[in-house]
């Protein structure tokens, strides 16, 4: 019985390879391909929104990579291609949000919060030392000395 189950599992797993397709041929120019992927990794896939155009398996991502490749072959610069995509899809297509008045809080917020937190922590630590620095009066010094002498006398 166990052997049968194992055999079935192996057959099912083995058949998965039938569905694996050959990767589509990259352009014959590996340098161009590198440039395409470098730019694609700075752009966002709008379908799988937390992935870059380079990583996303969505068909739109493949189409946009092809678009990028074709434009690069036609001699367009990275900036021209990015401008082309932003004009059609908006700033969201950039993987890193551009630094604008509306995104300043997004970029610097965590840093500001960390600094504020640290500052508050330091302030609290400073205050804790304050009571210790209350100076003892002369009478209290004598009292402390007397108590200490008593202690030492007692333990011997």
């Amino acid at each position: 019985m166990h052997r049968l189950v194992l055999a079935l599992i192996l057959v099912v797993l083995g058949s998965a390879t039938v569905f694996a397709k050959e990767a589509p041929p990259a352009s014959s120019n590996p340098r161009l391909e590198k440039r395409v992927m470098a730019l694609a990794s700075q752009l966002r896939c709008l379908v799988c929104q937390n992935e870059t155009l380079a990583d996303s398996p969505a068909s739109l991502a493949a189409d946009l990579r092809a678009e990028i490749r074709q434009k690069m072959e036609q001699g367009e610069s990275d900036k021209q291609i990015v401008d082309y995509l932003v004009a059609r899809y908006g700033d969201f297509v950039l993987y890193r949000p551009p630094l604008m008045p509306t995104t300043v809080l997004l970029w610097f917020g965590p840093l500001l919060l960390a600094i504020a937190g640290l500052a508050w922590l330091l302030y609290r630590l400073m205050r804790r030392h304050a009571p210790d620095s209350v100076p003892l009066s002369d009478a209290e010094h004598k009292q402390a000395a007397a108590l200490l002498a008593e202690q030492e006398g007692g333990t011997q």
Binding site: V47, R88, G90, P131
Partner: protein, 194 residues
């Protein structure tokens, strides 16, 4: 033992500041809750289009039903119309199709289709089965015209005014509420002005 002095020093600051100690963190927490609550209502998949109030990109594509004929948005200057991007493989397009058929019946807004990355035969069959609200359908086999329009999913629809400027973009299927609250009023407004 004379230790009351030290205790008094430690006890004094707490009194007046208790309220502040409660109010400040609570205030920050409530602020955060409101911010995140609003965020939950936003849908990141509705990417706003930068093409609003810009001229609709021109194209010339073969028609779905008759490849010998072409379709171009230039033909529709002077009219308010809708460009609906759909595909036979798109499931949610079927939901909105009923609404489009209703809209086409009213005759208020001509609808033109853009068949996105589809097989010609399947596109034709789909319209035959579910009804055809389109005055004409442009066949965008490789989806490059759609990219020019900033399409990133189907269905998407654009309302274009008499001067050929995109005035509104719908992302996702159009609901009867969209029809009633957004489309019909907008079309009335666009038809009223030149």
């Amino acid at each position: 033992m004379q230790n009351t002095t030290m205790n008094e020093n430690l006890g004094a600051p707490a009194r007046g500041r208790t309220w502040l100690r409660v109010a400040v963190p609570l205030g920050l927490f409530l602020g955060l809750v409101i911010l995140l609550g609003v965020g939950l209502t936003l849908d990141p998949h509705r990417v706003p289009s930068p093409l609003i109030n810009k001229p609709a990109p021109d194209f010339q594509l073969p028609q779905l039903h008759d490849p010998a004929k072409t379709f171009s948005p230039k033909e529709l200057l002077g009219k308010v119309w809708m460009l609906n991007v759909w595909a036979s493989w798109c499931v949610s397009c079927r939901d909105e199709h009923v609404v489009l058929l209703q809209l086409a019946k009213t005759g208020v807004l001509p609808i033109y289709g853009l068949d996105y990355k589809d097989k010609r035969s399947e596109g034709i069959a789909w319209l035959q089965e579910f009804g055809n609200p389109f005055k004409a359908v442009a066949f965008d086999a490789d989806g490059r015209v759609a990219i020019n329009y900033g399409v990133y999913g189907v269905p998407e629809s654009y309302i274009i005014d008499k001067r050929g400027v995109i005035r509104y973009k719908f992302i996702g299927p159009i609901t009867p509420r969209d029809l009633r609250d957004k489309i019909l009023p907008l079309v009335k407004e666009l038809n009223g002005n030149a």
